[in-house]
């Protein structure tokens, strides 16, 4: 699903690499936490998978493809097989909940009939049945994140990438989001989640990958957050 082979990424005008010789593999259907303090290289790791950045050296394989060999115009097709969720939700404030989810389908040219059918289904899956016509501003943070997850999942991606999805939520809402991600993972979708949320990592007991100053310092199945500290 995802394979990093000796990946190093150094940004221009920076001495220390953001990622330093990282090798690892994530299998299909796994649920993986990516932990580490700020500046540890988590974001770079995710950006490399989304091909928003290219490695300085080493190879990144996503969904069986070597991203270095993927031509620019094929990148959008690759991204259609990934779902992405962020801490700040990234919803369009002037579109309704339904339109926000539909937007993801409209911009890749899905026919109207499909959109009409799929959007309510996925909203029901994330627990927002009946809220299709509400505006994002009328929803709680937890509900907004559910909209973002619905948008990420509406294409039934093979891989869901979540960058601190609970970072802006209270513990109760965070638990709800984690239950949802767990359910999505059970449908066969691989989930990779970067997080600072110790309680969640400790509770879920999934694989934990820890980065520190660009180095891979821990890769532990059924791990907890604060193992080394």
């Amino acid at each position: 699903m995802i394979r990093f082979d000796n990946v190093t990424k150094t940004y221009p005008k920076q001495n220390r690499p953001a990622l330093d010789n990282v090798s690892l593999e994530i299998e299909k259907g796994e649920f993986v936490f990516l932990v580490g303090s700020s500046g540890s290289g988590k974001s770079t790791f995710l950006r490399l998978i989304l091909r928003e950045e290219r490695p300085s050296t080493g190879e990144v394989h996503v969904l069986g493809k070597d991203l270095a060999k993927l031509s620019n115009w094929k990148v959008p097709h690759m991204r259609r097989q990934l779902g992405t969720v962020f801490q700040d939700f990234r919803l369009l404030p002037n579109k309704t909940v339904g339109q926000n989810v539909a937007f993801a389908l409209e911009v890749i040219g899905k026919p109207r009939g499909t959109i009409k059918k799929v959007v309510p289904e996925v909203l029901e899956l994330v627990g927002l049945a009946g809220k299709q016509d509400r505006m994002p501003g009328e929803l709680s943070g937890g509900e907004q994140q559910r909209v973002a997850i619905a948008r990420a999942f509406v294409n039934r991606p093979m891989l869901l990438i979540a960058d601190e999805p609970t970072g802006n939520l209270d513990p109760q809402n965070s638990v709800g989001i984690m239950k949802l991600l767990d359910r999505i993972n059970r449908t066969g979708t691989t989930v990779l989640m970067a997080t600072h949320d110790q309680a969640i990592v400790d509770q879920m007991r999934k694989r934990v990958i820890e980065l520190d100053q660009g180095h891979l310092v821990r890769d532990q199945s059924r791990g907890v957050y604060g193992y080394q500290h």
Binding site: L50, R51, N72, W73, V75, P76, H77, M78, R79, R80, Q81, L82, T84, R90, L92, F103, A104, E106, V107, I108, G109, P111, R112, I115, R151, A152, N155
Partner: protein, 306 residues
């Protein structure tokens, strides 16, 4: 669905960026109307060249009775009116000259008829008689530029009062029009530059104000074409509106300047009709839309990366 969605996005973009859109429309309209004016000026010059090219270029006037009294200006006519033999001699020489394409004769009687036909409204028309005119030959040259060689052959011959190069009269007019064409071209280039900068800036602002949308589009895997199309279409739409305005401006300009003013004041020149004006219009739309879409594409290469 897709088309409807894209149209909605374009409309949102144009409305959000209204002041810039208006600026683009106005500046496209101005630069394209200059393009149109330059093109029409060119076809006017060509038409005049064709019109005058078909006419006689050199006129040879023979002495008449009145010239005999006016020896100062026409010393050659001291011996009186030119005889038919003198006229025939000159005619014969011109016929043999390889530079001469054709020679027409115009008797004073014909001259009266021609004058009345050409200037029917002239207050002089009723008073014009055959005695006001000279016998003359009208010569068409193979190459109008070699006028001097033909003139020198004929000048000073017995009975020849005066040789006129008609194209010399028109030369300043052609020079003026050529200069006007260059000035229009220069202003056009500057306006094009300003317009392009404005389009680039507008597209940039537009792309920036929709960063959130385009960011999400990229995340969910919209193709580059899909992400960029609304911006390109916006620029093209503004340019199309500008081109239509420019077409209107040159139509009004032609009507006011040529039909209302120049045509009434200058009867000697044949002015362009509506044909060239109408054929320039679709060209303006193509140039405007193409230029602005191209500017948008190049701008987006820089500001909307994959």
């Amino acid at each position: 669905m897709r088309a409807q969605f894209v149209m909605a996005e374009i409309w949102i973009g144009l409305r959000r960026n209204l002041t810039m859109t208006i600026a683009v429309i106005v500046s496209v309209a101005l630069s394209l109307s200059l393009v149109g004016a330059a093109m029409l000026l060119n076809s006017q010059v060509n038409q005049m060249k064709g019109y005058w090219g078909d006419k006689v270029e050199v006129s040879i006037y023979f002495c008449n009775k009145s010239d005999q009294k006016d020896v100062k200006t026409t010393p050659n006519c001291a011996s009186g009116e030119a005889t038919q033999a003198q006229i025939d001699t000159v005619h014969g020489q011109l016929d043999k000259n390889p530079l001469v394409q054709k020679v027409y004769t115009e008797t004073p009687d014909q001259a009266v008829v021609n004058f009345k036909k050409q200037f029917p409204d002239s207050p002089l028309a009723p008073y014009v008689t055959a005695s006001s005119f000279n016998n003359s030959l009208r010569v068409k040259l193979t190459n109008p530029a070699l006028y001097q060689e033909v003139a020198s052959q004929v000048e000073g011959q017995p009975g020849v009062a005066k040789v006129d190069d008609q194209s010399a009269v028109l030369k300043p007019l052609f020079n003026l029009m050529n200069t006007a064409q260059w000035v229009a071209l220069a202003i056009m280039v500057i306006m094009f530059g300003v317009t392009l900068l404005l389009i680039v800036n507008t597209v940039r602002v537009s792309a920036f104000s929709r960063k959130r949308e385009t960011g999400i589009m990229r995340l969910v895997g919209a193709s580059n074409f899909y992400v960029q199309m609304p911006f390109i279409a916006e620029a093209a739409f503004a340019a199309a509106v500008g081109a239509v305005l420019a077409s209107g401006m040159i139509a009004v300009g032609k009507y006011v300047l040529i039909d209302m003013v120049l045509k009434k004041q200058i009867t000697l020149i044949s002015f362009i009709g509506w044909g060239p004006v109408i054929s320039v219009m679709p060209l303006l739309v193509v140039i405007g839309v193409g230029m602005s879409a191209l500017a948008a594409v190049l701008t987006l290469q820089k500001y909307l990366k994959v």
